[in-house]
C-alpha cells in the first residue's frame, strides 16, 4: 500500500504539473481574450456575442474541471500494476481533451465571428452541438481511462455516429433545393446525432460496471494504445474536415442565397422596366406613329394637290390666252367694220354729190345714198360700242387672272407651312422612336451583362458544392478503411497474433488521408486559418 500511495502521490503531482503547464498558458491567454472581447461586445451592445463568449468560457471551464476530477478519480481507481500503462493512456487523454478543448474553443471563437452575421438560431444550434460534443468527449476519455467495457463496441458506436453525421451532410447536399431549410435541418441533425452518441455512451458507461477490465497483457496493451492513438488521430482529422465542411457548407449556402436574391432582384427590376416601357411608352409611340401616318396621308393629299395645280393653272392660262386671242381678233373685226363704215360713208357722200348733179333724176338715188350714209354712221357707232365692250372684257379677264394667281399662291404658301409642321412632327417622332429603341437596347444589354455575371457567380458557387461532396467522399473512404482495420484488430484480440501489420496499415491510411486532403485544401476558411490559435502537442 505504501508503494501504491507513493506512486499515486507522484503521479498526482506530475499530473498536476502536467495539467498546469499544458493548460495554464491557454487558460490565461484565452481567459484574458474572452474577458476583453466580452467586455468589448457588452459595451458595444452586442449582448448575444458577449453571452456567446461567456458560454464558450463556461464550456472551457467545465472541461478543465472535469479533467481535474478525472485525473484524481483515475488515480484512485487504478490498481498499482497498471499505473505505468495508465500514465501513457492519460497522456493520450490529456492530449485528446486539450486538442478538443483547443479546437472547440477556436471553432467557438470563429463561429462567434462568422455565424453572428447569419442567424441566432444557427448560433444557438452550433453552441448546443459543441456543448454536447464536449460532454461526449469527456465521457469517452473517462471510459478509456478506466479501460473497462467493450472498447471495440464503443468504437463501432463512435463510427456509427460519425458515419451518420457524414450521411447527414451528404443528405443535406442532395437536398440543396431548399438550401436554407436543409442547412437548419443539417445542424439540428448534427445536434441530434451528438445527443444520441451521448446517450449511447451513458448506456455503455452503466454496462461497464457489470463487465470488469480484461486487459492484463502489456504488449497487447501497448498495441491497443497505438491503435487508440491512430484511431483518435484519424478521428481528429475527420473532425477537422467535418468542421471545415460544415463551415464551408454554411458559408456557401449563405453566399448562394445572397446571390440568388441578388439575381432575382436584378431579373425582377429588368422585367418591371421592360413591362413598363411596353405598357407606357409603346402605346405613346403607337399614338405617335398614328399621328405620323395621319401627317403622311395629309402630306400625300397635299402633294397630289400640288401636282394638280399646274395642270389647272395651265388650262386656265390657255383658256384666258384663247379668250384674249378671240378678243384681239374681234378687235381686228371692229377695225374692219370701222373701215367699211368709213368707206361706206365716203361712198354715200360721193353718191349724194352725184345725185345733186343729176337733178330730178338723181332724187331717188340721193335717198338711197342718205340711207347708206346713216348705215355707215350707225355701223361706226356699233363698232365703237363693240370695241369698248371688248376692252372691258379684256380688262376683266386680265384682272380675274391676276386675282386667281394670288389665290393660288396663298394656298400654296399655307400648304407649304403646313408641310413644314408635319415634317417637323414626323422627324420628332422618328427621333423619339430611335432614341427609345437605342435606350431600351442599351439598358437591356447592360442588365443582361449584369444577369450573366450573377448567373456565373451562382454556377461558381454550385461548383463549390462539388468540392464539398468530394471531401465527404474522401472521409467516407478513410472511415471504411479504418473500420475494416479495426474489425481485423478486434478479431486478433482473441488470438495471440501481433497487431503490428494492422498498426502500420492504420498509420498509412491516416497519412494517405492527410496527404490527399492537403492537396485539396481550398476551403472558404483557408484565409481564417492564419488567425487560428496555434496547436500544441503535450508529449
Amino acid at each position: 500500500m505504501a508503494v501504491q500511495s507513493k506512486n499515486n502521490a507522484e503521479f498526482k503531482k506530475s499530473a498536476w504539473r502536467f495539467f498546469l503547464i499544458s493548460t495554464g498558458f491557454a487558460v490565461v491567454l484565452v481567459g484574458v481574450s474572452i474577458v476583453f472581447h466580452s467586455t468589448l461586445n457588452f459595451r458595444l451592445g452586442r449582448y448575444e456575442d458577449a453571452l456567446f463568449l461567456g458560454l464558450a468560457w463556461g464550456v472551457f471551464s467545465v472541461s478543465q474541471w472535469r479533467l481535474l476530477r478525472l485525473s484524481q478519480k483515475t488515480v484512485k481507481l487504478l490498481p498499482e500494476d497498471q499505473v505505468d500503462a495508465n500514465n501513457a493512456t492519460l497522456r493520450y487523454i490529456f492530449n485528446r481533451i486539450s486538442a478538443y478543448v483547443q479546437d472547440n474553443l477556436a471553432f467557438n471563437n470563429k463561429s462567434n465571428v462568422d455565424f453572428s452575421a447569419a442567424s441566432d438560431k444557427h448560433t444557438i444550434a452550433l453552441s448546443k452541438a459543441i456543448g454536447v460534443l464536449n460532454t461526449q468527449i469527456t465521457h469517452l476519455t473517462e471510459t478509456l481511462a478506466q479501460h473497462d467495457g467493450d472498447i471495440d463496441q464503443e468504437f463501432h458506436l463512435f463510427d456509427d455516429v460519425a458515419t451518420q453525421t457524414a450521411q447527414t451532410i451528404t443528405q443535406y447536399l442532395t437536398l440543396s433545393a431548399d438550401i436554407d431549410n436543409a442547412l437548419r435541418e443539417h445542424i439540428t441533425q448534427i445536434a441530434t446525432s451528438l445527443d444520441d452518441l451521448k446517450s449511447k455512451l451513458n448506456t455503455l458507461n452503466r454496462k461497464q460496471h457489470e463487465a470488469l477490465p480484461s486487459v492484463d497483457n502489456t504488449q497487447n496493451f501497448r498495441e491497443i494504445e497505438d491503435i487508440v492513438y491512430l484511431h483518435l488521430s484519424i478521428d481528429n482529422a475527420i473532425d477537422e474536415q467535418l468542421k471545415v465542411i460544415s463551415y464551408d457548407t454554411h458559408q456557401s449556402a449563405l453566399m448562394l442565397l445572397d446571390l440568388m436574391r441578388h439575381l432575382s432582384d436584378d431579373a425582377e427590376s429588368i422585367v418591371k422596366y421592360i413591362s413598363n416601357a411596353n405598357e407606357k411608352n409603346i402605346s405613346k409611340m403607337e399614338s405617335d406613329m398614328e399621328n405620323s401616318v395621319k401627317f403622311i396621308i395629309s402630306i400625300e393629299k397635299f402633294i397630289q394637290n400640288i401636282q394638280e395645280i399646274p395642270d389647272k393653272l395651265r388650262a386656265d392660262i390657255a383658256a384666258i390666252q384663247s379668250a384674249s386671242g378671240v378678243i384681239d381678233s374681234l378687235a381686228h373685226l371692229v377695225d374692219s367694220i370701222k373701215e367699211i363704215s368709213f368707206q361706206t360713208d365716203i361712198l354715200a357722200v360721193n353718191a349724194a354729190i352725184q345725185a345733186a348733179h343729176a337733178g330730178e333724176a338723181g332724187l331717188g338715188f340721193k335717198i338711197v345714198a342718205d340711207e347708206v350714209r346713216k348705215l355707215a354712221v350707225n355701223s361706226n357707232n356699233a363698232a365703237e360700242m363693240i370695241e369698248s365692250g371688248l376692252e372691258k372684257a379684256r380688262h376683266t379677264i386680265q384682272d380675274g387672272l391676276k386675282f386667281k394667281f394670288l389665290d393660288e399662291i396663298m394656298l400654296q404658301m399655307n400648304g407649304a407651312s403646313q408641310v413644314m409642321i408635319y415634317v417637323q412632327q414626323l422627324q420628332d417622332s422618328q427621333e423619339d422612336m430611335q432614341q427609345y429603341y437605342k435606350t431600351l437596347f442599351a439598358v437591356i444589354n447592360q442588365n443582361n451583362t449584369k444577369l450573366a455575371h450573377d448567373i456565373s457567380e451562382v454556377l461558381g458557387n454550385i461548383q463549390y458544392e462539388d468540392v464539398v461532396r468530394q471531401r465527404v467522399e474522401r472521409i467516407q473512404e478513410v472511415m471504411v478503411m479504418r473500420n475494416d482495420l479495426l474489425r481485423q484488430f478486434a478479431a486478433q484480440l482473441t488470438s495471440d497474433g501481433s497487431a503490428e501489420e494492422i498498426i502500420m496499415q492504420l498509420n498509412n491510411t491516416l497519412n494517405d488521408y492527410l496527404s490527399r486532403e492537403s492537396h485539396h485544401n481550398n476551403s472558404l476558411q483557408a484565409k481564417d486559418d492564419e488567425d487560428a490559435l496555434p496547436k500544441f502537442e503535450l508529449f
Binding site: 422596366y273 413598363n276 405613346k284 427621333e431 432614341q435
Partner: protein, 123 residues
C-alpha cells in the same frame, strides 16, 4: 457646397439651373452636349452631374453609362421632359436602371432640384 456639372442642350434651361444652383452656393460648370459633358467631367472632376437625356452628339444615356462604368459611385441626376415629353418617363426609368442617384422631370421647381441634389449627395 458642391462642384456641379450641368449638361443640357437647351440654353435657357441650362441658364435657369445655373441661377438656381449659384443661389444655393454651388460652383457650376456647364456643357451643351454629351461629348462636352464627358470632357468637362475629366477636366474638372465635379462632385455631381446633372444631365439631360435627349441631346445631340452624345445623349444622356451614353454619358451615364460611360461615366458610371469608370466611376460607379459618381452621383448623377438625370432630367428629361419639356418639348419631347412623350418619352420623358421612359428615359428617366432607363437612367434609374443604369444606376443614377436621382431623376427629375421637366419642368421642375427650385425646391425639387434642391431635394434631389441633397439625396444624390447623401446629405
Amino acid at each position: 457646397m458642391a462642384k456641379i456639372l450641368v449638361i443640357d442642350d437647351e440654353e435657357q434651361l441650362r441658364d435657369l439651373i445655373k441661377k438656381m444652383l449659384t443661389r444655393d452656393g454651388h460652383q457650376v460648370l456647364m456643357a451643351q452636349d454629351g461629348e462636352e459633358g464627358v470632357r468637362g467631367f475629366h477636366q474638372f472632376n465635379p462632385d455631381l452631374i446633372i444631365t439631360d437625356i435627349i441631346m445631340p452628339n452624345k445623349d444622356g444615356i451614353e454619358v451615364i453609362m460611360e461615366l458610371l462604368k469608370s466611376h460607379p459611385d459618381l452621383p448623377i441626376i438625370a432630367i428629361s421632359g419639356g418639348r419631347r415629353a412623350i418619352t420623358a418617363g421612359f428615359n428617366l426609368d432607363s437612367a434609374e436602371m443604369l444606376g443614377v442617384k436621382g431623376i427629375l422631370q421637366k419642368p421642375f421647381t427650385h425646391q425639387q432640384l434642391q431635394e434631389v441634389i441633397q439625396k444624390a449627395l447623401g446629405l
